[in-house]
Symmetry: C2
């Protein structure tokens, strides 16, 4: 099947992809397009670049997903309005890129071309870090619960949302973390600096500085939500038009 | 109005409450019940305990809420199924507590009696910490965005949920943090330890230990969600019965 296809899309956890690219990739027909949907891109694009030159390879990453894994979690419209990162490899000609872009239009996602290292650096802070931050929140609740199980009764909206992704598929997340180790460690270091700044201002009881910092963050979060809502609206009118 | 009422409920930010308890509290009629709905309880219960003994005081904290403030954000059914903490003061007799419990039943919440210090210690980890963790996630995204604004395009579900509460009303949150400073600092310290453990295992590439830790956290998050769903179901059948 792989040998006959114009386009082969691989959508498996990152380290499974590394093996599949090596074994399935060379079997594509001359000029066949290989698109992967892995959550990290630097290691995967290295594997794509090592393929024989008759394969046109493109790294991809749709920025959507859910904490459930498996076919039971399949959802029509999952990609609608989401950003779909593409990292075209040197082996991919303009017609291969056009094919990938047509696919993205078809599922109503928004294409974004990025360098693989840049992609990995950005998703480390915006996606992989939130996962670890959520896990550590659960860890802290577990610590408190050893002496006071009532803590679980008190957990409400902020805990629910702040820890949702901690319930994600561990195998998938391990693949992500271990193929993006350096960028995730850097994101954790940056995160710790922000936490320490907040801790310092609270410990000092420096209310004006704390208010200013928290207000900046609240405004940035509001601005992001507004921009996201605007994209969603633009997407709807595209569909209507 | 306060002087004639059987029950006075104060629902304002924590530091406004401290002032209102001092000014309005003494004006209650003999045996009148004063219930506050403040998000922290130790400082507020101290203020309640300083009232003249003719007032029956009860500290309260319904564990629900939303990131919007003001009357426009009012929502019927907001309290349904949520845990409602009560910290009855020595001045409150059994009939005062019965009145508060009847109110909680009426709004279909679940009462939980706690000591004020214990309450503050637990909500520091399960509610105030998630707020600061969310703010620091926004802070890290802002840092990355200064060099790569595309990071906002990549923000998806894990960022959305992990940072939702960062958009909360800053004045309300400042009141919470500054009236629960010590417990929040301790929760931040515990959180940092969990983050460092995760960082260490990732830096070492210790996959088995990392898998075990992430699996524990995922299982704890699943267990909490299941227990919460069971409560919600029990609540529905109560209403039907």
């Amino acid at each position: 099947a792989v040998a006959a296809a114009d386009l082969v899309i691989l959508a498996t956890p990152a380290r499974v992809l590394l093996r599949q690219i090596e074994t399935l990739g060379p079997r594509l027909r001359r000029g066949g397009v290989l698109l992967d949907l892995g959550s990290t891109k630097a290691a995967i694009c290295q594997a794509l670049d090592a393929l024989p030159p008759h394969v046109q390879a493109i790294g991809g990453h749709p920025m959507c997903g859910k904490e459930q894994a498996g076919l039971d979690a399949a959802e029509a419209g999952l990609y609608r309005g989401c950003t779909f990162v593409l990292c075209p490899r040197p082996s991919a000609g303009p017609e291969a890129l056009a094919l990938a872009l047509a696919l993205i239009r078809r599922i109503e996602a928004r294409p974004l071309l990025l360098d693989p290292d840049q992609h990995d650096r950005l998703v480390a802070s915006i996606s992989h870090l939130p996962y670890l931050a959520a896990c550590a929140l659960v860890g802290q609740a577990l610590t408190v619960a050893t002496e006071a199980p009532a803590v679980w009764e008190l957990a409400a909206g902020s805990f629910r949302d702040g820890t949702r992704v901690a319930a994600s598929d561990v195998t998938m997340l391990l693949d992500i973390l271990l193929t993006n180790q350096r960028a995730v460690l850097a994101a954790l270091d940056g995160y710790e600096m922000h936490l320490r700044r907040l801790r310092q201002l609270l410990a000092q009881g420096d209310e004006p500085a704390l208010r200013q910092l928290l207000t900046e963050m609240a405004q940035a979060r509001h601005a992001w939500a507004r921009a996201r809502a605007a994209h969603a609206t633009a997407g709807s009118s595209d569909r209507a038009g």
